[in-house]
């Protein structure tokens, strides 16, 4: 899923300081699963905003809506009759949400309420970690099922570097050295030989480096 973190409330309050009527828009996709942008969080953010503005004697109307998804026009469309009722919208979907809202409603003021972080998964309740960088040419099968692009701090295709220590990455004792995991896994599987092969330079053109990407599926187009 796409994992995000709530923006500091001060930042959000600052963005909407001039408005009197705001719609907080959540999303039932990834951000609901990672507890940052679902219906519940919409309620919490809306209430926090109201408390803050009441406290300052500058009341605001904050309404709440949570869409099925903000990354599909058909759901974004569902706001069409109410958008003009508001001075601004705060989207707490991933970064796609505020963009889709702004594209669909060109006259609306749209603000992002979360900081989108990465594609990853839950390690345990309340802990998420990065797993993929969307390089456009997946090669995890060559590395024991671990992604060195997203998980090695230097995206090394030949690791571990000289900073790998006790299974941890040189940047922090809180970060696993993925290359340590790769070596361990392949050693256990008796496949160390595969790490004696040199990996060609990566073609980054399939990644973000090649410019903004688009996927077209002719079979699905209407």
């Amino acid at each position: 899923m796409i994992v995000g973190e709530r923006k500091p409330l001060g930042d959000i309050l600052d963005m909407i300081k001039d408005y009197k009527k705001v719609l907080v828009v959540g999303c039932k996709g990834c951000v609901t699963v990672c507890n940052v942008g679902g219906e519940k969080e919409v309620g919490i953010l809306a209430s926090s905003i109201r408390i803050s503005r009441k406290k300052d004697g500058n009341e605001i109307t904050v309404d709440e809506r949570t869409l099925e998804r903000q990354c599909d026009p058909e759901y974004v469309d569902q706001l069409k009759d109410i958008v003009s009722d508001y001075d601004a919208m705060v989207s707490i979907a991933c970064g796609v949400g505020p963009q889709f809202l702004a594209e669909r409603y060109p006259d609306a003021a749209v603000y992002p309420g979360i900081n989108t972080q990465f594609m990853g998964g839950a390690l345990e309740h309340g802990v998420w970690a990065e797993r993929c960088q969307g390089c456009g040419a997946c090669l995890v099968h060559n590395f024991g099922g671990h992604c060195p692009i997203a998980r090695c701090s230097k995206s090394l295709l030949h690791g571990p570097c000289g900073g790998s220590s006790g299974g941890k990455c040189e940047i922090s004792k809180d970060v696993d050295c993925v290359w340590h995991l790769i070596v361990e896994k392949l050693a256990k599987q008796g496949k160390m030989d595969s790490l004696r092969k040199l990996v060609p330079t990566k073609n980054w053109s399939t990644s973000r480096d090649g410019g903004p990407r688009k996927v077209v599926r002719e079979d699905l187009k209407l």
Binding site: I51, S52, K54, K55, G57
Partner: protein, 112 residues
């Protein structure tokens, strides 16, 4: 045993403090409560295992929210007591009341 506790404390009963969510605490503040606290069972004695521990973390979260918007985090608190401890319940109610009185009325109420 009848114990007197400050009448300004409005008690809302829940089966377990694990049912108390962040939004409930925020709503109380939003509606103008000067303070709100959760009275849960002693740690390690939750009938549903970890309800009171969850409540504790949620209280902590709300404290952070208050801090971020410039309100006193002490307006939200968590207390633990055993269900048989009537006197402690009353004492906590008095303690919290004192604390909130010292902080003064909630700016949410006084400014709106």
């Amino acid at each position: 045993m009848r114990l007197s506790y400050p009448t300004n404390v409005k008690v809302i009963q829940v089966p377990c403090t694990g049912r108390v969510d962040i939004i409930h605490l925020l709503k109380a503040i939003e509606e103008g409560a000067d303070g709100v606290y959760v009275a849960g069972c002693l740690e390690g004695e939750c009938h549903y295992l970890a309800g009171n521990l969850k409540a504790k973390k949620r209280v902590k979260y709300v404290k952070k929210v208050l801090e971020e918007i410039g309100m006193e985090p002490d307006r939200v608190e968590m207390f633990n007591m055993s269900s048989s401890e009537g006197p402690r319940f009353a004492a906590v109610a008095r303690e919290m009341t004192e604390k909130i009185k010292a902080l003064g009325p909630s700016p949410v109420r006084s400014n709106s």
